[in-house]
Symmetry: C2
Subunit: 694 residues, 2 copies
């Protein structure tokens, strides 16, 4: 599964990096305003017209909880992955309904179920605002001043754009600050669940098969966008291909890759290898064990924790794959060689003298990061206080303080143009389970003690003379922030109301806020800003040396990838590009129908009705990464042939470098979706809507 695990509202800015080395074959997560036209023309004889690009762009949908999707009917039907919709299904469930596990099917529009806090974005336009941003950030500013100046100008551009167009407006740093583009989105906040299969079909093979291939997964989910309580009327949506994906065919993927680190310097890669990834994995291992143990105690526990557990397992596998790539000396050798070559080329151009120093500035910044990373992770990034209720408390506390400031000076998530999204999350009606919140908070308070040590004065204050377990129980039991009404009152009342409220979770948020803001400031100015400036210099030098025919590192913004439908060789065996529905039944038999390889009951019953030769999953060489989950795979005619839901294990290294030999994107075949809707789920009406039958 390739969900990009951060909420957009809390995305840490500024780690988009300049792209490295000469392009290989089907490499690239291209900008829609800078597509690889010439290459496509030459290699594939494909003309990427403006019209084609606009159509695909406006048919693409971003799921702000970390995935991609696309419009697939004129009535606002949206296709994505089951695992992208999981968050919504999980929240719609209760003790008596487990839609995540059992699936969901609205037989009429009236039965479609609204998802509380889901925001979808459709990219309407891109505008290059690099000059405006650079003009505001003078060359002689200190990193702290530069950071503030940039934040201010970006907030202003966004606010002006929002006021003018009414569209969500985000300034995106591309090429690590080599360019700044203004992205304007149409937002959909009334989004309803239409169809999802049972999780057993969507995630057949479970964690053992995750990131593996061949696969047999129906990882699909359908939503519908509403406006004014009616299905949205959509001009740009993708039509359904009659024939599906063919071997060796050119295909495109339009989606939102979350983040890549391809242009990291060697110092940055070494940081990730030696500190970043091991640290993150340490946290993930701990969560995975805690959530598995919690889930084991009862079915209801398992339902509550399933989605988080799932995302933890998924991240764990992805990071292990990434770390294995970084621990492959060959990858580092190639990176070192490329960096060495570029440094020599830069050295020959006196006008880029500063760029040479950029390398050592980056190295120094990584050392600073190493010093503050733990504190940052537990105190500001929330690792020490993992509970929805703490997130609410902090958001309320800061919302009061930040909204009192001019827009340009606020913490980024409180900028005017983001407040609507913020409110949607803050006032979410999602249910909160005390025992689950206590378990998570106790685990993260223990982690806090471990990271900062028991003697740390902040830790002492946080624990207030209790053990982590006791303190978590006291906080979760005592807070009143479970009430949406109270949260609304506190948000509207601002700082005054928050100050007057003696809620224990608010008190905790208040207690940690000063050190949290301080370490965030260090991270933003001493690490990220320094690196941003250094990378911007490197980017300029590279544009001059290597030309601009390239793409920036992924930033969870819309990108176009392309590739061909083909298998690969592994341990001397050929892995065919495609599986069929018949393969699902064979695999279940091989594993004696034991979980997670057991057949879903419906599939067992409907076997005779199905055309077993229907293609089920397929792979292609398109360049994707986490965040691309739910992206449509389309052919030259922009017709849907598949739905990205995973990459194979060899693709996990794509974080650092594109590879074509074995790395593959894994998709559900369009034919399998229609076949299953009609014959397994009795959802012929939806299949008709997808395929354009009336």
């Amino acid at each position: 599964m390739m969900t990009y695990p951060y909420r957009v509202g809390f995305l840490v800015l500024g780690l988009a990096l300049v792209c490295a080395a000469p392009l290989r074959a089907d490499e690239g997560m291209w900008l829609f305003n800078h597509p690889p036209r010439a290459y496509l023309e030459k290699q594939y004889n494909f003309d990427a017209t403006d019209k084609w690009l606009e159509h695909v762009q406006k048919s693409s949908v971003r799921f702000n909880n970390g995935g991609s999707g696309s419009f697939v009917s004129a009535d606002g039907l949206i296709m994505t992955n089951h695992h992208v919709g999981a968050d919504c299904m999980q929240k719609l469930g209760d003790k008596d309904h487990n839609y995540y596990r059992d699936g969901f099917h609205a037989k009429s529009r009236a039965e479609e179920k609204g998802c509380n806090d889901l925001e979808l974005n459709v990219l309407m336009s891109i505008e290059d605002v690099t000059d405006q941003v650079n003009a505001a950030v003078k060359g002689d500013l200190s990193p702290e001043e530069a950071f503030k100046a940039r934040r201010a100008v970006m907030a202003k551009i966004e606010k002006d754009s929002l006021d003018k167009t009414g569209l969500r407006s985000d300034v995106v740093a591309l090429y690590q600050g080599g360019q700044y583009h203004l992205y304007r989105y149409k937002k959909y906040t009334d989004v309803r669940l239409v169809f999802a299969p049972e999780q057993q079909a969507a995630f057949y093979g479970g964690d053992p098969d995750n990131f593996e291939y061949p696969r047999f997964d129906l990882d699909v989910c359908l939503f519908r966008a509403y406006e004014n309580d009616k299905p949205a009327k959509i001009a740009h949506y993708l039509k359904w291909s009659k024939d599906g994906a063919k071997k060796d065919e050119l295909v495109f993927v339009s989606g939102h890759p979350g983040r890549t680190d391809r242009s990291n310097t060697v110092a940055e890669l070494e940081y990730l290898r030696d500190r970043g990834f091991p640290y993150l994995l340490q946290r993930l291992y701990r969560w995975e064990v805690m959530l598995t143990a919690f889930s084991g105690r009862s079915e209801e526990n398992a339902r509550q924790a399933k989605e988080f557990l799932f995302s933890v397992q998924n991240s764990r596998k992805a990071r292990e794959g990434g770390l294995a790539g970084l621990l492959d000396p060959e990858l580092l050798r190639r990176k070192k060689e490329a960096e060495h070559k570029l440094r020599e080329q830069i050295a020959q151009k006196p006008e880029f003298k500063e760029a040479l120093e950029a390398y050592s500035r980056i190295e120094k910044a990584e050392k600073t990061r190493g010093r503050i990373a733990r504190e940052y992770a537990v105190v500001e990034a929330g690792g020490g206080f993992n509970s929805e209720l703490f997130v609410y408390a902090r958001t309320l506390l800061r919302a009061g303080e930040e909204r009192a400031k001019p827009n340009a000076e606020r913490l980024r998530e409180f900028r005017e143009s983001n407040l609507e999204s913020l409110r949607q999350q803050l006032f979410s009606e999602e249910p909160i389970y005390n025992n689950y919140e206590i378990a998570k908070l106790a685990n993260s308070l223990t982690w806090l003690v471990e990271q900062l040590h028991e003697q740390n004065p902040l830790v002492q204050k946080v624990l207030a003379g209790k053990s982590p377990n006791e303190r978590a129980a006291e906080l979760i039991g005592g807070t009143k922030l479970k009430s949406v009404e109270l949260r609304k009152k506190l948000y509207e009342g601002g700082t005054k109301a928050v100050e007057a409220c003696d809620d224990p979770m608010l008190a905790l948020a208040r207690l940690v806020d000063e050190p949290a803001r301080a370490v965030r400031k260090s991270m933003e100015t001493e690490v990220e800003e320094v690196k941003r400036q250094a990378h911007a210099q490197l980017a300029k030098a590279r544009f001059a040396i290597e030309g601009t025919n390239t793409y920036p590192d992924a930033t969870f913004t819309l990108r176009l990838s392309f590739g061909t439908v083909k298998g690969y060789e592994e341990n001397g065996q050929h892995v065919p590009y495609e599986t069929t529905i018949a393969g699902l039944y064979e695999r279940a038999k091989e594993h004696h129908d034991k979980p997670p390889f057991d057949l879903p009951k419906r599939w067992e019953e409907r076997k005779d009705k199905l055309n077993l030769k229907t293609p089920f999953n397929f792979v292609c060489t398109a360049d994707i990464i986490g965040g691309n989950s739910g992206s449509p795979v389309i052919n030259r005619d922009a017709e849907v042939v598949g739905l990205i839901f995973d990459g194979n294990i060899q693709s996990l290294v794509l974080d650092f470098a594109y590879a074509e030999d074995q790395a593959r994107a894994v998709s559900v075949s369009s034919q399998a979706i229609v076949e299953a809707l009609r014959k397994v789920y009795d959802a012929g009406k939806l299949a008709d809507e997808l395929t354009g039958k009336q």
Copy 2:
């Protein structure tokens, strides 16, 4: 589950610690040569006669893979836990037989199956050799010299005893070096599996119920000791109680608690809280995730990894409980108070001046430990090279070198008196699975890089320019040490043969041996020896101040505990002392018969035959800890009323302090064992043998 997770042959010596503070009620893991006679007499009106003690002692059995047991028939029948026998069951299995999962029942003696590398010890005598040891270790020696002198005199005492008696002879440091006792054991190395239920019955409720109560587990397993290919004739064995355990009855537990840390100084407890436990847990979380993922891929994988996974989960839960105890400020407060009081008392006695300094020496030693612990753990303790094949390689390499030295100068595991046990392990016929070994080794090489960093010259040499995954595959694929024959040849050929062999795993063992021995030496002399001397001084001061009516910290040697059969209060509810077989069926129903709460098939089928009122599990206040697994619970008449298999979650703090309010030892009732043997497993003959029917 309370398995003590270290093999005796590799037990790190010297962490036995002096016991703290005034005794509470049923506290104590008492020495058989220093039982709490007066207390038992006064409190329970029980006379612990020499005869009674000798009988119980010689009926008790130590499982050298980390558990306890007892003789329960004149024909050598031995009772222990399923989870203590697990290692043997797992190894007896193959692709077609999974005795661990499915159980085992030898219907005749001919069908009893020999366990390759299981060694059982029965304690025959204890001799106080404190004076001999102290005479050899003069007061003016440096820590390094003192360590060597002590090792030499201990090896000599053991060798002399072995030569004289033919019995396994171990000198045990008690009261952290306050006393040294020579333990002589009769060894049984021909041990055969007789009966085990399916794992589902033994470990009903799985990881979620582990360390919980109420319980419904038949965690039992029967072996038989053989001599000269015939069932051993046993003079001392425990008879079966007709009535089982009664409420409020006095009971005894005779077994081998592995380790406690009750007399740790505050500095030592803080080390465990801040570094020791978090570090160990970090490793356990990682193993648990890796083993769970590996097991998910196929049934055969799961079979191979099950036992290790099980022990990892068990340790994880135990350590989490211990850490939670250390993070309870109340426990530390009490420990600080007691230490403060003792220091003041010592300060008033000029003859114990040195003991006062002992505290700061211990504190300093813990700082040294903090500096070298990582390297020690990965390089010497094997954390960086987790594979049976590496253990073989290192043992062969060192066996050659060490056996060439005088007995007194060898690494402790190569002392003359231990060689037979060592050979038994080294020449084990246990099957080795390449993929499993590769997965474990790749994981631990990755851990090695993470702990020591990629730039470390030793790490570079170990990886030899490969990634951890590649290197692990190359080593496991290339080594020939899977052959028992080769291992025998190399062992017998000594250093010359080992040097002449160019096996890659031997080469790896050779590569790390110098730094491994160096860090072991630092750990032994700069940490353990310093602490041993300091604790010995503290112990003497305490004997003088508090008297000698006390027990030493646990050392995986035979101890007598006692207590009463009774329930406890939890969250305002009374938890009754006993469960019945009926409860098993209720619990399965509550959980809709879903794993791990599903009923074993045999139990489903035989429900009607069973007397559902039969007691199943019960709790008592006896003072136990990991290693006590499989200990018999006996009444005043030394009759078996139960079988220890776990402690509740509140008992996990017993590592640091006895607690009687809620901490409970959990046992299988003797009646449940007989009822199940007769009515579920058609093993009436075994039930007859246990109950003495002919």
